[in-house]
Amino acid sequence: MNLTRAVKDAILREFVREVERDERIAVTKRVDLMLGELKYLTEHKAEEVRKAQRFGWTRRKLEVLFVLNSFYQRIVRPLLASSEPPRVLGKRIPIRYGQKILFDEEKNKANLKMSLTFLALCERLGVSRRLLEAQKTNDLIWIINTSNDGREGK
């Protein structure tokens, strides 16, 4: 097994270890789709991919980026949604969803801290929020090649 796959697979496994099967499959499938699109782009828009590589985004790094992007969009961001409540509900007044789920100030703080820590982690790795927000591989390549004259990911 080469190192690329080893790192990509290792962090994917690490990320999804504690999430439900459905979501594990959803994140993995999204990463696979992005990999498939990269293969397509490599064949049909080779110059764009090469340009991204010249800006520091080698294939190995792109594959890891797909994992970070997918984990953010499928797992982190939905939890961040409820953690920024308006003045009353969800802050002073907790929300009981069904019998077991409670959204209160403590949960908001935990979700917010988790999300911000993840964003900070990505920032340290040179992965901007725009890269986490990109929907497809093509968008990622476009952002890398156009943003800040290619400084994304350096």
């Binding site: 270890r17 969009q73 939905p78 789920i101 968008d139």
Partner: protein, 271 residues
């Protein structure tokens, strides 16, 4: 030599990723490793917050009704629940009281057998939730809670997905079935700059690509509703005018719902 250096820098980056991710997961897996249902609920609540905040800003009057015994907002998660046993919001505008509820079943003006439950509904003043029993529903044992579409100001749907074309188009059906005020056969001014009620919204988590954006814009140009995409990336805030990171939406015309902004507004109340 340069290639070797580059490779070494790449190895270092990959090494850092593993280390950082391992630390993150060790510390936070208990926070993000929640049930799928909770994650979907969080997204839906985020959309509700956004709508409530919008009304809070424009009317200064949002109150929470019917908290449970523990003082919690009891969220109605299924249309089979009795809405009277769950919490909702009320706000005043133009001297009238409106309600914001979740998962309330709507019976369409199209046909009495067309019923469905949007994630969030805003109801007109005096709207009543009817509760008949039908033999064809749970063998007549449970009540069939619903409101008539004539009582609906707006029905909103939340989808933690990307805005694929079929999702966008399916909202057209729900929009038509849920709002009796919408009559495509007549010339009606549906959208108004001074309106207080956001036009019905399809809230979508994922971002859209070029084609989907064009399609959403095309639908908005054709129907009086909002397609709010990319919520996973924005600030979960809606506004009337374009602004950074906020979602620009349109509002229903004041005459459409019978609101009269010149009437005295109720005193703002927060609870």
């Amino acid at each position: 030599m340069a290639a070797k250096e580059s490779r070494s820098s790449e190895e270092q980056w990959l090494h850092n990723v593993r280390r950082e991710v391992r630390q993150f997961c060790a510390e936070y897996s208990v926070v993000y490793g929640v049930k799928k249902r909770e994650r979907a609920a969080s997204f839906e609540i985020g959309c509700l917050h956004m709508l409530v905040k919008n009304y809070e800003d424009s009317t200064g009057s949002i109150a929470v009704e019917n908290l449970n015994k523990s003082g919690e907002f009891q969220y109605l998660t299924t249309p089979s629940g009795n809405p009277a046993n769950f919490s909702w919001f009320k706000f005043h505008y133009g001297g009238q009281e409106f309600q914001i509820r979740q998962q309330v079943r709507i019976k369409s003006h199209w046909h009495s057998d067309i019923t469905f439950s949007p994630d969030i509904v805003v109801l007109k003043p005096g709207a009543e939730i009817e509760d008949p029993k039908f033999q064809y529903y749970a063998n007549g044992k449970n009540r069939f809670f619903h409101v008539l579409s004539s009582q609906v100001v707006s029905a909103h749907e939340c989808k933690c997905l990307t805005p694929f074309p079929e999702l966008l188009v399916s909202f057209v059906g729900m929009f038509g079935a849920a709002h009796e005020w919408y009559n495509p056969r007549e010339e009606v001014e549906y959208i108004g700059e001074d309106g207080v009620h956001p036009a019905p919204c399809l809230f979508i988590g994922g971002d859209s690509n070029g084609i989907q954006r064009r399609m959403a814009a095309g639908l908005e140009a054709t129907f009086p509703f909002n397609v709010v995409t990319g919520l996973h990336f924005g600030r979960f805030r809606m506004r009337r005018d374009p602004g950074d990171s906020d979602f620009t939406i349109r509002y229903l015309h004041p005459d459409l719902i019978g609101q009269d902004p010149t009437r005295e507004e109720a005193t703002p109340q927060m609870s």
